[in-house]
């Protein structure tokens, strides 16, 4: 247990040493959201209608930028190989790393969300639904994303390829998350959508660590 705790602490430590890499995706998110009122229409009604979708799309795009950080440095400096040789089960190691990554890249996003909701004129009901979908959905982004990051980590130009691989897989999540917020806007119950997202999250939590471990082994060859 102390070993996993050590990995977790090390990852957090490294993340807070590289503050630029932490802040840049958030700035990107904020700027993408800013583009919509300027590009589509600044009228409060329009913004309220497209708001949840805009926030979710911006979250997915910015998460793609931050995602690469998950294994890249460990791959390049050889720590990943050390993890594999250490005898610790690799799925558990990857689960710990994904958890650390979620904490440093998505929790700031959650903290930023009241500001985004205010920008896009979301009502309180919509905001609560949005936060709930983000809480359930972003760990799913981290877990599934880590599989593709593991696969592309050994490649020179993984960035665009990573987006190409992940965006189609994220579309169902986007559909259910935004439909939950839309229901909230109409004062309708949205438990069904939340339950589906939660089911996807549980499935990913059970299977993704093994897929991540396998893909890391493939990349390490």
């Amino acid at each position: 247990m102390t070993l996993y705790h050590g990995i977790f602490k090390r990852d957090m430590h490294i993340a807070f040493k590289q503050k630029a890499e932490l802040v840049q995706p958030l700035m990107f998110l904020l700027m993408v959201v800013t583009l919509f009122p300027l590009g589509v229409s600044p009228s409060p009604d329009t913004l309220q209608r497209i708001g949840p979708g805009v926030i979710w799309i911006a979250a997915i795009l910015s998460s793609l930028m931050a995602m690469e950080r998950l294994f890249r440095d460990d791959f390049q400096d050889g720590s990943l190989e050390q993890y594999m040789l250490s005898g610790m089960p690799l799925p558990a190691v990857s689960a710990v790393k994904v958890a650390a990554h979620w904490l440093v890249s998505f929790v700031p996003l959650l903290l930023l969300s009241p500001l985004l909701a205010m920008f896009l004129n979301l009502t309180v009901d919509m905001y609560i639904a949005l936060v709930l979908t983000l809480l359930l959905g972003t760990p799913l982004l981290s877990l599934v994303g880590a599989i593709a990051v593991g696969l592309t980590v050994g490649l020179q130009k993984g960035g665009v390829l990573l987006a190409l691989l992940l965006i189609p897989v994220f579309i169902p999540l986007l559909i259910f998350a935004t439909s939950a917020v839309d229901s909230a806007a109409l004062q309708l119950p949205y438990h069904a959508q939340l339950a589906i997202i939660a089911a996807m999250l549980l499935l990913a939590a059970a299977l993704a660590p093994f897929a991540i471990a396998y893909s890391l082994k493939v990349s390490q060859n």
Binding site: V144, I147, A148, L155, L164, L165, P168, A211, V218
Partner: protein
């Protein structure tokens, strides 16, 4: 079953199997497609609601069903490759990927052409159309990931993981017309107990479905043979095969030289 299947993990046996199956697939594809298409387009009765434009069903439905079928086959091949470490399984997976992508494209294209007279729009963001479009993206992702690696064995493994992750989309496509009440019409032929389509319309559709399946089989065997030869160039049996081809060509070349000489 195991004893019967296991030899095909060897590339040479898989190559031979492709050679044996290929003519049968081509014959099956040509017969079924010509019978089904002519019957469906010329002789099947008109639809009472959609008139003649429903006939695009004979291209649209087989390609749509088989775009999903090819993806499932690809994922099964990836799983087999992962579990039993068969190189030929990865090779067949990547042999199928572009074919499935083209099937998906055909399904989307004919769907758009069918949607224009029926719904009044080329493209509607309906659940089934959207999930089929995602399927196309998934195919492209698998192909792109395979292309990104230098080492093709590693590439096959990586693309296999991605193919398996994408399998979640298949039930979404299949049930999309039941889960979401959208514009796309409900299932007509997959209800085996009581198909809601007249038998004289159904038969050519089923024949065409079989024809498309044979066609995919035929093209897959061609691509798989190519893949095997490309990846196994250093093996003696491939070199022997190449030498045979060259000597065959060489025996026909002197004639050409003679003609030119005259």
């Amino acid at each position: 079953m195991w004893k019967w299947l296991h030899p095909y993990a060897k590339t040479e046996r898989a190559y031979q199997l492709c050679l044996t199956l290929q003519p049968w697939f081509w014959v099956g594809a040509l017969t079924c497609l010509s019978i089904g298409t002519v019957w469906g387009l010329a002789f099947a009765p008109q639809d009472y609601q959609q008139g003649d434009s429903f006939r695009i069903i004979y291209i649209h439905v087989p390609s749509a069903i088989l775009s999903m079928g090819t993806y499932v086959a690809m994922a099964i091949a990836a799983l087999v490759g992962m579990v039993w470490q068969w190189r030929t399984a990865y090779m067949s997976m990547i042999a199928m990927a572009p074919i499935g992508a083209v099937m998906t494209f055909i399904a989307l294209f004919t769907g758009a052409a069918w949607g224009k007279p029926m719904w009044g729009a080329w493209w509607v963001w309906d659940a089934r159309l959207t999930s089929e479009l995602i399927l196309l993206f998934l195919y492209m992702g698998v192909i792109a990931l395979y292309g990104a690696f230098e080492d093709k064995q590693q590439a096959g493994k990586a693309a296999g993981v991605m193919a398996l992750v994408g399998v979640v989309n298949i039930p979404i496509i299949h049930y999309s017309v039941e889960w979401w009440n959208t514009l796309h019409q409900g299932a007509t032929i997959s209800k085996f107990d009581n198909p809601s389509i007249a038998p004289e319309m159904l038969w050519p559709l089923l024949i065409n479905l079989l024809g498309f399946a044979f066609f995919i089989g035929a093209v897959t065997t061609v691509r798989l043979r190519n893949e095997i030869v490309l990846r196994e160039l250093h093996r003696p049996w491939v070199q022997a095969l190449a030498a045979e081809k060259v000597s065959k060509q060489a025996s026909s070349v002197p004639n050409a030289n003679l003609k030119e000489g005259n």
